[in-house]
């Protein structure tokens, strides 16, 4: 999967600035992880998912979104590599890892995409008003009343999950999977997990889930790669995946194993440390102004006229 422009700018920009700052060690060391101790989690078993999109339908229902535009039995959308949007907090995409079945047909692997509910979420740390926050039950929760629409979360999220209601000029919101915050707070299950006919999504206490999943992988070494995606990626996520095929072939990004806020906060903190960035910026701007060719200024029509006058 290609890294999109937004992601490239987000990460690459951050790298450059932090490299420029050069002195981020202090900030790194100072930062405390914000992961809740005992959150819920979900494990998506990619070997069990059949791409039926029942979870999409259920998600839209429990979140009061209009039903998916494409009919559920329309399987062509699976190949479109959709992203979560304001009208769909979760989508299923299909990937072909190259594995063949007995009829020599490529075997598809279906990947459910939604907010990963990072243990230490970059979106929340980038949020300047605290509209996004990690709750104790694991949900990264969005509070519309606090949101000022800066959309830093869109840039910060390493998985490019949050979507913004650009079409709504008056009360635009950031939309993303809520981990069915209300439902799980009341002891329920996420809508998608409860609806999945294959139980490809297992919901429960993250720690217990991880233990169970490790047992499952050990017991079925042929069926599963020895890896739980999300166990430690970006410092751990509440949504995790297990698979038979390598994750790189299924559209999963290879991400660092430390929380992304280390990066984003570093960027922000570094930018504003000792006011070096504003000073540099103004210096660059000034330099740029000097660089502008005085002759060009002279050749501007207004100056010309003045000259003529003289």
């Amino acid at each position: 999967m290609n890294i999109s422009r937004r992601h490239f700018l987000g990460v690459a920009g951050g790298m450059i600035s932090s490299a420029a700052a050069g002195n981020c060690k202090k900030v790194f060391a100072a930062r405390q992880p914000k992961a809740p101790p005992n959150p819920y989690g979900c494990v998506v078993d990619l070997t069990a998912c059949v791409g039926c999109r029942t979870c999409e339908q259920a998600c839209n229902r429990v979140n009061h979104l209009p039903p998916p535009k494409e009919r559920l039995d329309d399987r062509t959308v699976l190949d479109q590599k959709r992203r979560p949007s304001t009208g769909a907090f979760t989508v299923i995409n299909s990937y072909y890892s190259g594995r063949l079945d007995e009829q020599n047909q490529l075997v598809p692997t279906y990947v459910k995409v939604q907010c990963m509910h990072c243990q230490d979420p970059a979106c929340a740390s980038a949020c300047i008003t605290g509209a996004l926050s990690k709750k104790d039950n694991g949900a990264v929760h969005y509070d519309k009343s606090k949101c000022v629409g800066c959309r830093y979360c869109l840039v910060a999220c390493p998985f490019q999950i949050p979507a913004y209601e650009y079409f709504d000029p008056l009360t635009p919101r950031v939309r993303k999977c809520t981990f069915c915050y209300e439902r799980i707070s009341m002891g329920g299950k996420p809508g998608c997990a409860a609806a999945c006919p294959m139980e490809a999504i297992t919901f429960g206490n993250r720690q217990i889930l991880l233990e169970g999943t490790r047992r499952k992988i050990t017991a079925n070494p042929v069926r599963y790669l020895n890896k739980i995606y999300g166990e430690s990626e970006v410092g751990g996520t509440s949504w995790m995946y297990i698979s038979k095929d390598p994750f790189e072939k299924l559209g999963f990004l290879s991400l660092p194993h430390y929380p992304m806020p280390h990066l984003t906060e570093t960027i922000q903190h570094s930018i504003f440390a000792y006011m070096w960035a504003p000073i540099t910026l103004f210096a660059i701007l000034t330099g740029a102004m000097w660089k502008i060719n005085p002759e060009q200024i002279n050749h501007a029509p207004g100056f010309q006229a003045q000259e003529d006058h003289i």
Partner: protein, 724 residues
Amino acid sequence: MKRSSKGKLTIVLMSLIVLSLGTVLAIAWAEAEPDRADKTGFREVLVGLIDSIFERDRAGESKPAVVKTNPPAHRAWHDRVASARQRGKETIPLVKDVFKETASERRARLAYRLRPKDIPAEYNFFVMNCPLVNEEDDFYGPVRFMHKKHASISNDCSGCHHYRPNVPDASETMRCSACHQNSFNPIAPDRIGLKGAIHRQCTGCHKKLHRGPIRCSSGCHEKRVRDHTELVELSRKPDALEVTKECLRCHPAQGEEMLSSTHWLWKGPSPFTLGQDKRVDMGKATVTINNFCVSVFSNWPRCTGCHAGYGWKDASFDFTDKTRIDCLVCHDTTGTYRKDLKAAGMPDPSVDLLLVAKKVGKPSRKTCGNCHFSGGDQDFVRHGKLNALLDFHGSSCDVHMGGLGFQCHDCHKTRNHKISGRSIALPVAEGSRSCNHCHTDAPHQEKSLLTHHLNKHSDHIACVTCHQPVYAKYTPVKTYWDWSTAGDKERKVKRDEDGMPDYAWEAGDFSWGREIKPVYAWYNGKVKRHLLGDPINSEGVTNLNEPAGDIMDRESKIYPFKIMGGTQAADAKYNYLLVPHLEGVGGFWQALDWQRSFASGAEASGLAYSGEYKWVETAMYLSLNHEVLPKVFALSCVQCHESLRNRLSCGRCHQDKRGVDFRELAFSGIDEKLIHLTRKADRSQINETDWLNFKDLGYKGDPILYGGRFKKLPLGWKVASQKK
């Protein structure tokens, strides 16, 4: 003292003997020919009693055909369906601890202890509708799971019953929900819930074996239709066209689909008509002719009373106009929608269209039956296998619809409003269905000594040949229609004991039959068809359609047919069949003048009329694919194979083996039960063999003695020389 006690004993003994004799006599009396026995209430009570003891059903047997409100119900089957539904809803305590063993250990151990044939009858099938599965949403209807069939095909119980409870005296096999219940259960975190367990087990195996459905509503579930009460926006008294417009508001694509369907066009591709297989315009609307009401031409408003549209009253009907589609006739769930059968498809004015529109849903036996049960103008006329009784439970009428509650579309899979299935009487087909689509080419799956033999038979014999030994089981059906005598308004109509008339001045003489033995013929799926304008058979009966097939054609199998005979008019000079115009101006019913009627019919159908007509005999073959009976009512071996009649063992072909009850194998299903079915049929046949009449089918005689069509028993191949 002594003597008197002896006397008492004698009296007691005597009265016991008298009582038992009386019971025997009473049973014999009750079992005797019911027609001859007087029908007192007591006799009926007795019959009921005996039936309930032997779990037998003869409901509908002695009831007149016109009584439609008294459904025949086969108790045992009925109970089984009810208890399967009940069991499907139950939840039982969770088995927490299972006995761990490897898959191969378990398979080996179970193979000793359990055979599919040991499955008790009440576990033959399940209606899976557990609340554990439906707790999140309930968009799909319950699944009918044929347990025994699956067990027989896989022949390995351990595939699904992969663990047993870790309690010594527990049952070896438990239902799925004993171990799999709520998903994400903290008590058993490594165990998936019932919903996941079932879905993974089913689709896993279906995918691996490339067999059985794997998508939600392509075979397992029926998708529930949303409640339309709030969605439908109509005035309080809408007319039919307004309703269609409202349907199309949200379902325009479905309207388009309908416009190219057979049910709308009454014509279409005819892949199975010999010599016409590339045509795309064959059907009732264009070229076919029958010996009931003969042809649609000039008779539109009445014939099109069954059209899935509104207002096809003459040749100018616009088949591209979506707004004239009748959605409700198929999608009514209230059971109140009716068409006015003389008004070109318009609904009966008494129907509350608003109510029907708000309650739309999936088609059902009732909606399909609205038209298909009453082919030939009313219920029980045309088919001998499709009638309103199918809408009631009772596997002694039909094992699928009656016994298992199938709806028509459970078999006649429908995609884009194109309904699969075809009839021998009509050329159009939108996909075909046959028993082996579900039952496979080896439909008998029981572990029994007969299975091999029965499955061999299915290469040569259609399922319904054995599983429908007689047709028109509970209701009379028209077998002959003589138009030549029509027009006598004075003639007194006589009614037979079922209340069926022998004459109607509009139509002529009729014959009726009940519990009729079919006519058997080789059939390979193709049909020779007589079309409008084709020359009639000058030497005898003109067959309006005829199954193609031959004893030496490997594709052909023996099928049962109903033959419908008729006398209808042909042009004396041009020698083709004529179309009578019946109702309205110029119609026969108005002026009782055949000349005018034929002239007008000929004009409408585009054929010339010479001015002279003659009456000729015609015949139609009608297939008998419904009213399928379970094995207890199917033909037995001996019923066809004379050579088995006097045998006592399998020793003719097999090494004799003690402990095999030959008579139970070869005679099962015969006599007693069939006698009840064929109460009125030619009873001389009952104790005879050669039910199919091998000689007529091209054999020299019983194939066990003379050899089959390709192979001679008991050993060795040969080219059959007994061709007709």
